[in-house]
């Protein structure tokens, strides 16, 4: 048999295969490590957002209300329970100029300027009061002991801090009643206004660079600058916003100033992603439109932009996700520590979710760590939704040219 004499050309070299396997594993390892760390982080945050608590219903003349009711609704129910008629209650809550409704820690106040002087109606003990707080592990371990030691009117509950009321309540000096409602609305306001600024400017710049200037000198200069801008730390934008918008333009520490700062921050990212989307549109489509007698403007807006739209939208969403997480620049342009009211206009005071989380973490009461954990979960949830949306859009409109 001469088989033994010929080199085994198609055989497997065991060492090459082994090295290949090791190499592939070595590449996967860091990924697994990163995923593991992320899972650990998420798990830890989840764990911290639960606690075992002793709560007591307030024994005053009032009554406790289900979580999540608005101040007006609580006042209405309370007044009705005290025997006022529907008309009287409606009248008392009607005129927003004359009266003021406050939602404080665990009480609701109605202030009303009548002809006989100011009138003040207070509902106290709106919610159950939280008496003591234990971590999940400790609380579950000592469950029976705690249960045996309950006072009159007290209950032992497993409390998820991230509940429905957490999402709607205003912030508070007490961790027991602190909520993220105002910060969520602040984020919604700031982000929408920021995108309102960043989308037209960013996409417009991308179209100008990609479709009109192409290989010009100006295009190259702008390109380098944009890439640099995308790499500037966000706190530098905060300084710019503070100097330019808050001070020089006199807008003050308001939603508008924050949106303009975040808008600037978002523009480079949007420009870069939108340019890539435009570049992915094949040249043959532009030629086809030109050959049909379209002007440059018609080519761009009837063919190229519609074809690039899914990519552009994905880019906008990703940049929005980045802007949601920004705390540093907003600390500089005046996200306030304590804003008890929902923002009502672009010139309102505001706070946003990451700033609120930062402020909670820097408090020294240990329960604030739980509030912060709940806040982090809210933000992660929000970010996940945005990323899923981006992913969905990318898959939904994927094209083969």
């Amino acid at each position: 048999m001469n088989r033994t004499h010929t080199p085994n050309a198609f055989g497997v070299d065991p060492w090459k295969a082994r090295i290949d396997r090791v190499f592939a594993r070595a590449l996967v390892l860091p990924l697994l490590l990163a995923l593991g760390l992320l899972a650990l982080l998420l798990g830890d945050t989840l764990y911290r957002s639960f606690s075992v608590q002793v709560v007591r219903a307030d024994e005053g003349p009032g009554r406790t209300y289900p979580f999540g009711l608005s101040a007006q609704e609580i006042l209405r129910q309370d007044l009705l329970a005290r025997g006022y008629t529907e008309e009287e209650v409606a009248f008392a809550l009607e005129d927003p100029k004359e009266r003021q409704v406050l939602f404080l820690q665990n009480r609701v106040e109605l202030m009303w300027n009548t002809q006989d002087g100011p009138f003040r109606y207070v509902v106290t003990g709106v919610y159950d009061e939280r008496v003591a707080d234990f971590s999940l592990a400790e609380g579950l371990r000592r469950w029976n002991e705690l249960k045996a030691n309950l006072q009159e009117g007290e209950r032992l509950v497993l409390n998820p801090w991230l509940d429905q009321t957490f999402l709607t309540r205003p912030p508070s000096r007490s961790p027991l009643t602190a909520g993220i409602g105002v910060a969520i609305w602040g984020t919604v306001w700031v982000l929408s206004l920021a995108l309102l600024i960043a989308i037209p400017v960013g996409i417009g710049t991308a179209i100008l660079l990609e479709e009109y200037l192409r290989e010009g000198r100006l295009s190259r200069i702008l390109e380098v600058n944009l890439r640099n801008l995308a790499g500037v730390p966000s706190i530098v934008y905060g300084l710019l916003g503070l100097a330019l918008f808050v001070r020089s333009m006199g807008i003050g520490p308001t939603i508008l100033a924050a949106s303009m700062t975040l808008g600037l921050l978002g523009i480079p990212v949007i420009v870069v992603t939108a340019r890539e989307a435009l570049r992915a549109v094949p040249e043959s489509l532009r030629l086809a439109a030109f050959a049909l007698g379209a002007t440059r403007r018609q080519v761009v807006f009837r063919v190229v932009v519609p074809a690039a739209l899914p990519g552009m939208v994905t880019g906008v969403i990703l940049s929005a996700a980045r802007l949601i997480g920004e705390a540093a620049p907003l600390l500089l342009v005046g996200a306030a520590a304590y804003v008890p009211f929902l923002p009502s206009s672009p010139l309102s005071q505001y706070t946003v979710i990451p700033v609120q989380i930062y402020l909670w973490i820097s408090q020294n009461q240990p329960e604030f760590a739980r509030v912060a954990a709940a806040g982090i979960l809210v933000m992660l949830l929000l970010l996940s939704v945005l990323y899923l949306l981006a992913l969905y859009l990318r898959n939904r409109f994927r094209r083969e040219w």
Partner: protein, 270 residues
């Protein structure tokens, strides 16, 4: 066969086209891409309602000549044109002529099918919409164009919903032809329209070209000499940016006069 030898070449013409028969009359056309000259002193007439094929080896300037007939070369940065292209007596390189308006009158089909990522209907309607056609007229003319491009039977039940990109390669190319002829251009330019297609789809397109010449004047660039022989009435042979020979297709292929033409069609170079 050097450029120097061809530079002052006088085109060999057989049965040349008279001025009255011609739809397009190219006179002494020179074209440069930056410092590089791509077309050398080209003079040729394209007869009305006939198919004219342009053949020649790669890089000989066939596509450049085709694109200078509807000023698509204007889109290339650094291009410079001298000479005249008279379309129904009007020089389209006159500074008072708007290239966009020129392209509206002249249809073009490209090498690779390039439908827009829109529905079949919107693809065909694109040029019509640019001309301001609306409503039921728009719909009628789209259907008419699809019929004329021999695509209607295959897409009639889905042409308003389905994306043009979902069609097969041959169907996409017929869609592009429908898109080009929807605006009723007297002149249709085709730049190697079948080079990306399989033989069956090529056959369909060639049949279509033969039908189209009843209504349109067609200029087709092709790599494939058999195709030129099958579909065209007249053929132009180009080499190194020079129009070497032109004449009726059957004569050019059977009795070429210039030695280069003979060498090319017998397969000795190219």
């Amino acid at each position: 066969m050097s450029l120097e030898m061809l530079k002052d070449h006088e085109t060999v013409r057989t049965e040349s086209v008279s001025e009255t028969e011609a739809l397009v009359d190219v006179r002494h056309l020179n074209l440069w891409y930056g410092p590089k000259q791509a077309l050398f002193n080209i003079s040729v007439r394209f007869p009305k309602n006939k198919v004219t094929a342009i053949i020649g080896p790669s890089g000989c300037g066939k596509s450049t000549l085709l694109r200078s007939l509807n000023r698509m070369n204007d889109l290339v940065p650094g291009v410079r044109v001298e000479g005249e292209v008279r379309y129904e007596g009007v020089n389209i390189y006159d500074p008072r002529v708007d290239p966009v308006a020129v392209r509206r009158h002249i249809g073009m089909v490209f090498q690779k099918p390039n439908p827009f990522p829109k529905t079949i209907f919107e693809n065909v309607a694109f040029g019509l919409r640019l001309m301001g056609v609306k409503g039921s007229e728009l719909e009628d003319r789209v259907v008419e164009a699809l019929k004329r491009a021999a695509l209607w039977n295959e897409v009639q039940d889905r042409f308003k919903k389905e994306s043009g990109l979902r069609l097969s390669g041959g169907q996409q190319q017929r869609l592009c032809i429908a898109r080009a002829i929807a605006v009723e251009p007297p002149l249709l330019l085709m730049d190697e329209p079948t080079s990306a297609l399989d033989p069956i789809a090529t056959q369909a397109i060639e049949d279509l070209i033969l039908e189209l010449k009843e209504r349109y004047t067609v200029v087709i660039v092709t790599h494939n000499m058999q195709q030129a022989a099958r579909v065209s009435d007249r053929t132009l042979f180009m080499h190194l940016g020079v129009l070497v020979e032109e004449g009726p297709t059957d004569l050019l292929f059977t009795k070429p006069k210039h030695p280069y033409t003979e060498a090319y069609i017998t397969g000795r170079f190219g």
